[in-house]
Subunit: 330 residues, 2 copies
């Protein structure tokens, strides 16, 4: 098959796996080049691509890569603090972006991305962040139920993100390179809220705390989030690194959506629905990888599970919540 | 056996069952009298007592009952808006009180109770509210685990209270006679937080909303609570009447306590523990009725699972959260 799309990869931090995992299902996409976006070697990432049948060039400098290769799409998994700059560098060249979330670590950086995007041909150039849960089977299944109206009008969304702390690289220890636990871990929860709630935030409240973080510097061990969407849906999220070592999975990812006619809940990889007449575990829809979804959108105009505006709104909400939590007031 | 304690009952709203259920296990306690505390008949309540082998007099006026019978203990389950006055009337007569929660519907009323209690002989006169979950098997089991240090230092407490709305009597429709969903439903969740967290609140945040309440007047359908205890434990509670009719139980009562060394969680009547080395469902401790506990405390000085100070703090937190939510600001 003719390769229709040139993909370049910057960096291998975070969720680059979302890209690599679905390349086999995207014969239209060729990985033309990789760069680390930092002083790390890009060789392991190139190796991963080679194992998948691609033959990327390696660039020491990602800007040279963009200008020389002129890719159609770039995956941004570089250092967190460079996400925003890398997004802008791509958008300014009319290159679509699939960026690790959060796409910016400060609100002014987010403004820069919005400004760069406003100058793009938005029919052709797209930007989304790696909100991969939207493609996972239990979450897709819950979303389908909500969309079908089976729980009535959504009133309340409760989310939980609990991770094992494990050993964290040094860039997790500094706010400047990590961004904070609300943007990093909590962004998943806030994305569920925006997705299931189908509106932007009217207001947010949050707190976080670095105590007892096992020598991990600025890393906040615990955080709480509460917010109201513009359609008056209430939402909460509990966010922490307290998941014990013996837990069966790295993350305890839960979301519960309660409406006027029912409750749907994702927990332990299962999705359950309770309504006025039934209480049952649902058969899961198949997984649909978010990068696959994004590429089908760009290639064939198929609907994408997330768009630029919701990406920007998620980033805004995460950063506003973190900044509010920094004020340490109620 | 000689009857050592004279018990009088005011009203049958709410959790008077906590009293009736354990009378058979308390041969030392005699129900001397009942009054409704309102214009309702006290006859059904008296009947319940007779069926349990007691022979209470019926009073139309609870004040006359207090002055004539001079009971040692009174159960207060009258109209919610009279809880505070009834507590004061008892305390001023040096009578111990087992009161439906919340014991007051406004902060000034709570001050009145504190003032009345400060003048009592606190060695003999006790007041607690009906925080019956502290005696339920799954919650006692979780508390035992926390007390034994199995989850290390407590960092985060997440609670859920979800009720079926059903048909609510008219006194639920007015703030003046209902008090609000945070004090009524949320008080259970806030009590778990205070109990497991073992400290008073440093600050609280809350929101609530009466929309979509099915014609139930002022009744708030949904509420969210977040707070920080004086020992910096974070706590959240999701509180609502959205539990669907087909759910297996009236209430979805959950609490999760996450610490530096483990997580213990009460859900669906079960208690699970995860630590660095194990992940298991716990064998439950036996239930211990809270009124039984309270009576054994008064009769024999056995430790009681709750005391006056935590009763006052719970009430303060519920009312402060409700009042904050009324301000509708973040």
């Amino acid at each position: 098959m003719e390769k229709k799309l040139k993909l370049a990869l910057i960096g291998a931090r975070g969720h680059v796996g979302y890209v690599l995992r679905v390349l086999k299902d995207l014969p239209e996409v060729a990985v033309c080049a990789v760069a680390s976006g930092s002083d790390e070697s890009a060789e392991p990432l190139a190796d991963n691509c080679r194992n998948l049948g691609h033959d990327p060039k390696i660039y020491a400098d990602y800007i040279s890569m963009l200008d020389t290769e002129k890719p159609d799409v770039v995956s941004v998994c570089g250092p967190f603090e460079l996400h925003a700059k890398m997004c802008c560098d791509c958008l300014e060249r009319n290159i679509s972006v699939f960026c690790e979330k959060p796409i910016a670590l400060t609100l002014p950086e987010l403004d820069d991305i919005r400004a760069a995007y406003s100058k793009c041909d938005q029919e052709k150039v797209k930007i989304i962040s790696m909100v991969g849960y939207r493609g996972e089977a239990p979450f897709r299944t819950a979303y389908d139920v909500v969309q079908k109206g089976l729980i009535g009008k959504v009133k309340m969304i409760n989310a939980r993100k609990s991770y094992k702390l494990g050993n964290r690289p040094a860039y997790y220890h500094k706010r400047a390179t990590y961004g904070g636990t609300i943007p990093w871990v909590g962004s998943h929860a806030l994305d569920w809220i925006l997705w299931f709630g189908n509106a932007n935030f009217k207001s947010v409240f949050a707190m976080h705390d670095t105590a007892d973080n096992g020598g991990n510097g600025d890393l906040e061990m615990t955080a709480l989030f509460a917010g109201v969407l513009e359609n008056n849906i209430m939402a909460s999220a509990s966010i922490e690194y307290l998941r014990p070592a013996a837990a069966p999975t790295h993350g305890d990812d839960q979301v519960r959506i309660a409406g006027t006619a029912g409750v749907v809940e994702v927990m332990h990889g299962k999705t359950t629905l309770i309504t006025a007449t039934e209480c049952k575990e649902l058969e899961l829809l198949p997984e649909r990888g978010i990068f696959y979804d994004f590429m089908r959108h760009i290639l064939y105009g198929e609907p994408c599970v997330v768009d630029a505006e919701s990406t920007f709104e998620l980033t805004r909400a995460c950063l506003a919540a973190r900044d509010y939590a920094d004020l340490n007031k109620i």
